[in-house]
């Protein structure tokens, strides 16, 4: 079949127009960056008791509210596992994290022992992503990213002058999460004589920690490390 010269010209012009239109079309929106904040314990599970007499579940929730507000102010979407003194089991926490496809997951704890901030990543050995990961070891495919996220959080806290210890341990909720996930345990701020300068539920101390964590999350997002 032979096309006339004019038909060929029209065809080429249309192809050029379509190509130009495709180039000018707005790019598909980037996946929404969501942060999961998990205030540990709640309900009947009070957690530990702080030196000030506050229950750990209450201090965790207060910290969760602070961090959520700071991240919201920076335009970051936040999903929390609890907003009140309610019991949420570890499986439910992981379900919430996995359903929102979070770009970062932070499980908040407070303790009376030790000092500064204790950062924990899962102790699962890194594994290749699987199409159907096992529930109890789903975090294995994300451990490398969780450790990278821990590095960013460590830097932010260090920059804020807050001492940090990094560890890895078995964490029932986090081990099932499919996101860069960390447990952040706020211990008392201690002076050189090991005396407590600020309890984990101290409002100023929590505000400093929350600001550093928010800065770390912003850094984590802008570095494009989220999935």
């Amino acid at each position: 079949m032979h096309w006339s010269k004019s038909a060929t010209t029209v065809f080429l012009a249309m192809a050029a127009l379509l190509t130009a239109a495709a180039q000018q079309a707005p790019p598909s929106p980037a996946p929404r960056f969501v942060v999961l904040i998990d205030a540990a314990h709640g309900g009947d599970d009070a957690g530990g008791k702080l030196g000030s007499g506050t229950l750990e579940k209450a201090a965790n929730l207060a910290m969760s509210v602070r961090l959520r507000s700071l991240l919201g102010a920076r335009g970051i979407s936040v999903v929390t596992t609890r907003e009140s003194d309610s019991a949420v089991d570890s499986n439910r926490r992981a379900e919430i994290a996995n359903r929102v496809n979070a770009g970062a997951c932070l499980s908040l704890h407070t303790t009376e022992s030790g000092s500064g901030i204790h950062l924990f990543a899962s102790s699962l050995a890194p594994a290749q992503p699987a199409r159907f990961p096992a529930w109890k070891t789903a975090q294995a495919a994300w451990v490398t990213r969780s450790l990278a996220f821990a590095g960013v959080v460590n830097s932010a806290l260090d920059h804020a002058g807050i001492g940090v210890t990094l560890s890895r341990t078995a964490l029932p909720g986090i081990d099932s999460m499919t996101c860069p996930a960390l447990a952040v345990e706020i211990a008392p701020q201690r002076g050189e004589d090991n005396k407590i300068d600020a309890e984990p539920d101290d409002a100023d101390y929590q505000a400093r920690v929350a600001a550093a964590l928010a800065a770390a999350v912003v850094q984590w997002r802008t570095e494009g490390r989220q999935p």
Binding site: H41, D45, G47, G48, K49, E56, H109, T111, E112, S113, G114, S115, H118, F120, S123, V164, T165, L166, S167, R168, T169, A170, L171, P172, A183, E185, A187, N194
Partner: protein, 208 residues
């Protein structure tokens, strides 16, 4: 009408019966005392005191989140299970000290038993003699353990690393509390899983 002689006979027989009862009771008491006196409560076998040996205790420090080995001299039984219990008992005695850097009340009495069983196939593929240690802790220890991610993880890691340092074939550790499985030690550390001593040994000596 009962004749008089029958009444007298009845009274005499009754008195005789009571007298015989009293005599029998006294004879029984005398026989019992004789038996008790014949039993010797003196020790006849000297207890065997296990010789003191060097044991490595991997002690935790809450201040810097570290696990550091310390060498102690203590009597160690020959039986591996009893040996493991003795070593862990001394480790928990360190933690029960009021000046301890990882304070946990309870002490040696908190380790009720340590059972040594064959480890999983996976562990035995690396070491044919690999063992699983099942550490049975007292509920008082779990109830009084300070609550927190770091402090609980340090206790678990130090127990695992101490077992590995003194019983090199112990590759896996599981925990029971009063013989029952328990979800967490004090609200955080997972006690339902099997811990690998190799990972605890990796953490040993680490400081931030």
């Amino acid at each position: 009408m009962i004749p008089r002689y029958q009444k007298i006979l009845f009274v005499v027989l009754l008195i005789a019966s009571l007298a015989m009862g009293v005599v029998l009771w006294q004879l029984r008491e005398r026989a019992h005392k004789r038996l008790v006196a014949g039993e010797s409560s003196a020790p006849t076998t000297a207890p065997q005191v296990a010789p003191a040996e060097q044991a490595t205790l991997v002690a935790a420090n809450d201040n810097d989140n570290s696990l550091l080995p310390q060498v102690h001299s203590l009597p160690l039984p020959a039986d591996p299970g009893a040996r493991a219990r003795a070593v862990l008992g001394r480790l928990l005695d360190l933690y029960a000290d009021p000046e301890a850097k990882h304070p946990v009340p309870g002490g040696a009495a908190s380790v009720m038993q340590v059972f040594l069983l064959p480890a999983s196939r996976d562990a035995q593929s690396r070491d044919a003699l690999a063992q699983l240690a099942v550490v049975n802790l007292g509920s008082g220890f779990a109830a009084s353990h300070p609550s927190g991610l770091q402090t609980e993880a340090l206790t678990i890691d130090s127990i695992c690393a101490t077992l590995r340092a003194n019983l090199p074939h112990v590759a896996e550790v599981r925990f029971l509390v009063d013989g029952q499985t328990r979800a967490t030690l004090a609200g955080h550390a997972d006690l339902t899983r099997t811990y690998l001593t190799a990972l605890a040994a990796t953490a040993e000596g680490t400081k931030p």
